[in-house]
Amino acid sequence: MAIVERPSDVLALPPGGLVTHSPLGVFARPRAKTGWRAWVSTVDHKRIGIMYGVSALFFLVIGGVEALLIRAQLAAPDQKLLSADLYNQVFTMHGITMIFLVVMPMGAAFMNYMIPLQIGARDVAFPRLNALSFWTFLVGGIFLNSSWFLGGGADGGWFAYAPQTGVIFSPSHGMDFYAIGLQITGIASLVGGVNLVVTVLNLRAPGMTLMRMPVFTWMSLVTQVLLVFAMPVISVALFLLTFDRLFDANFFNVAQGADPLLWEHLFWIFGHPEVYILILPAFGIVSEIIPVFSRKPIFGYPFMVFSGIAIGFMGWGVWAHHMFASGLGPISVAAFSVSTMFIAVPTGVKILNWMATLWGGKITFSTPLLFSVGLVAMFTIGGLSGVTHAVAPADTQQTDTYYIVAHFHYVIFGGALFGFLGGFYFWWPKVFGYVLNDKLGKVHFWLTLVGFNLTFGPMHILGLQGMSRRIPTYRDGYGFNLWNAVATVGAFVIALSVLVFFVNIVRSKRQAPSLPPPGPDPWDARSLEWSIPSPTPDHNFDDDPVVTQLDDFWHRKYGEDEQGRMVPIATAEEIAMPGDPSRSHLPAPSYWPIVLSLAFPLIGYGLIFNLAIAAVGGAVLLGGMVGWALEPPDDEDLPPHGHDDHDDDGTAAAEPEAVATQEEVTAGD
């Protein structure tokens, strides 16, 4: 076996054949292939995906610390670790961080990295816009958290009901950071949504019809469509709040005739599709993992697809179930109660299809599989408590209590996060070229499962016993003491599990040189990303894969014998592409996405503190857009409109610089 090079940066991809050329005046495209400059100017969906993942894990730690502060404060009655004011900031920022800065970007990490690979594409439809999405998200997250140092974090709850969040009742700048910060991250989501919808619809490999796409890509498509339609609604709500707070508008001024329910409606019309945005990618991941480790196809592929689409559609018709106690009137309450109940049907279909996939299989309990089965079990609990909320009269007892806190942590943590953790273990070898240690992975899983249930299981009881949400402390003698103490212990177990995960990453990376490389297909999997080398070559596929059926890669490894049984007909190594970049032309890197993204926080700080800063931000915005538009295209040999990258005889016009890549070296094995 040939000696393989290992990347020296901790998480860097090996140097690849990126196109570079001589500068054209001041708008030269960047040339760096390694080091921080390469990452800052990258438009490669894979590097962008990795950056999303790293950022999400960073914010997970911040949100987790906020959670631990909450749990420390609530461990016993009548505590004063956190003042009421600080507590309000901590729980608000915990919610905002976990939803917008952890779960959404973690989904984005997987979707960005895997969608082009699963559909056999070179990159996404608009690589620079993709980079813009990432940097905008990151600066938005930093902007939001800078509030801690600039007058206090947002303190009105993540749901920010008016008029509580107006200037009279929330006088600090915290809610301004909230409103503007979420606008910034919203731009990232919207741009990313347009990008990925076009990518999935347009860039599929020859033969990959929609019904031959992996379930993960399908769920991601539904997610991106939801994003495209849901983000504008919260954007409007945030504009109204910002105009009220900064410019004295009257949208939520009750004395001037406002109805505070307007905020609630706008927020939840966004907010409910948002929770499906949070969960669908994880559903997709689990739909990839379970078949692989059961060694059977997903049960009911069309139903998995259609149930995802159904959830996407029906998710628009249930928003007011967050408002059952808000005084809507019995007709509205009844209608939303019924519609909410029916959305459990497609979700239940998924749970049963996953179980039916496991049924009759040959299950290997790898770490990805454990987390996936964990999702099935934990999400079911969250889904069932959700059905009890759908019963509107019951919800008038449950809403705003810890019973709801239990519900959404079971579906978001037990659902989305479990799915993502499984996804990390599953796709790690493809992304980084080594496997995460499975033994330590199992420790991670069990610690997570135990800690998670210890924390949130008792909250069902606390809620039914009447413990309100968003209270900084509780009195003795209300029956809340025991289960709060248990929940606090559980929270620290979760913290330990996160530590174990990070330790696993570091240790696995260190041990990797002494272990055999995983190769293109370590799990004997089904979809296209496993038909190329690990770690993924910069150019993804040597040639367009030609797809003839669902799970095409699998069916090239396994065929029917004379008796009709499925038997191996080729190994992954035999049919995987060797990693030859010579026929590929990659989009060139660019600094304009990060430059442009910096305009947004400048405008934000300017609106809050000093309009001069906003003016600078505006200039950066305009200058950035001009630079972006005028930037030379990929290759200086190209005609002015910059799209032809081949001559009439079909050969590539510009040879990418030949660099000995890891893939080429291993291709000879």
Partner: protein, 375 residues
């Protein structure tokens, strides 16, 4: 009690942890599963079978997952052949789409009926206006139906036991939520809107509540109680509340009254004593109102129902009906008057909540003596 045990058994399938409920506190004043009035009872009757169904599904799925994972685990001696590559079954898909849909339709139908049932308020029921503001609850009674409120009180919502009361809930500032779990679900108090809610307490007693919509600094310190009195006691209460306060005989209390006039009457009203007659537009607060104190000493709690006004002599954690008027909780009242923002997080610099008035000990003593006379 047999009823309590029965209810808790039905919770058992919902979560294994719930089984441990029997071992935990037996005092839970905000318990949602112990209805003490017909509305809460209606909800409970709907909720119990729903929890039971959810519990059964929970057990089936969890056991199913475990059973499938165990039965189909890859054995050590496995020959690495592929298991049967089943792609799906239309029958199963239709089955497990239609059956749950039917089940949920049933639950939905029952829910709709209950929603309409709960919305059905008897026409002649007594009405009380409930107004939330940062961070306490006010109650207003138009006893003679002439459009003017005859009784204005706070913290303790006094009602006759055994009778339906229609609450009309609103707010003077931000969104709050009125919730007495033993009597009914919650209803948000939204400024600019009025939301009806029917409550009825089966028996005389004290029923705890908690604001349940985040409303700022003292959201967690904005409680309330429903105090249900036997009909005769209620009539007596109602009559008493409509009388003004008398000038106290006691010297200290009279000094306290003067102190009240100087300091407190800018926000608080004591009727019958020449204070501001039009209170609610007068209080220099964002909400425009502070609790009416005319019959302060007839209540069991104060400061948003988080402090006991009378000593809880039997130690059950609540100022019961009989304990009101017995032994004044002087230390709590003094601490409050000495420095309200230290006792309860508020924002007096923004005119929300009671400020520190820098009272001397003598002034506080006098005020306490006066307040105790306001029965």
């Amino acid at each position: 009690m047999a009823g309590r045990t029965y209810r808790r058994w039905r919770l058992a399938p919902l979560a294994p942890l719930v089984l441990a409920l029997a071992a935990c506190a037996d005092k839970a004043p905000l318990d949602t599963l112990e209805p003490q009035g017909p509305e809460a009872q209606t909800i409970d009757k709907l909720v119990d079978p729903v929890f039971a169904i959810a519990g059964v599904v929970f057990v089936l799925v969890q056991l199913g997952v475990l059973a499938v994972a165990w039965k189909y685990r890859k054995r050590k001696d496995d020959d690495d052949s592929l298991p049967p590559q089943i792609h799906g079954s239309i029958k199963l898909e239709l089955g497990w789409t239609i059956l749950p849909a039917l089940l949920l339709a049933g639950v939905g139908g029952a829910s709709v009926l209950t929603i309409l049932d709960l919305d059905d308020r008897p026409a002649g029921a007594q009405e009380v206006t409930v107004i939330g503001q940062q961070w306490w609850w006010e109650y207003r009674y138009d006893v003679d139906g002439d459009g003017e409120d005859d009784i204005v009180t706070a913290n303790d919502l006094v009602i006759p036991a055994g009778e339906p009361i229609t609450l009309s809930i609103t707010s003077r500032d931000v969104i709050h939520s009125f919730w007495i779990p033993a009597l009914n679900g919650k209803r948000d108090a939204v400024p600019g809107r009025e939301h009806p809610l029917l409550i009825q307490a089966d028996e005389p007693g004290v029923y705890r509540g908690q604001c349940t919509e985040f409303c700022g600094l003292s959201h967690g310190f904005m409680g309330m109680r429903v105090v249900a009195l036997a009909p005769a006691d209620y009539d007596e209460w109602e009559a008493n509340q409509q009388e003004g306060a008398a000038v106290p005989d006691d010297e200290l209390a009279a000094a306290g009254m003067e102190q009240f006039r100087t300091t407190c009457s800018q926000c608080h009203l004591v009727q019958g004593e020449g204070g501001n007659e039009d209170l609610f537009e007068g209080a220099a607060l964002v909400s425009g109102a502070a609790p009416n104190l005319t019959h302060f000493a007839s209540r069991g709690v104060f400061a948003g129902a988080i402090f006991d006004l009378w000593v809880d002599q039997d130690g059950n954690g609540e100022v019961d009906l009989a304990e009101r008027g017995e032994q004044l909780n002087v230390s709590a009242l003094e601490a409050w008057l000495r420095n309200p923002p230290a006792e309860k997080p508020m924002y007096p610099q923004g005119s929300r909540g009671m400020p520190n008035l820098n009272l001397t000990d003598e002034q506080i003593d006098a005020l306490v003596a006066y307040l105790e006379t306001l029965e």
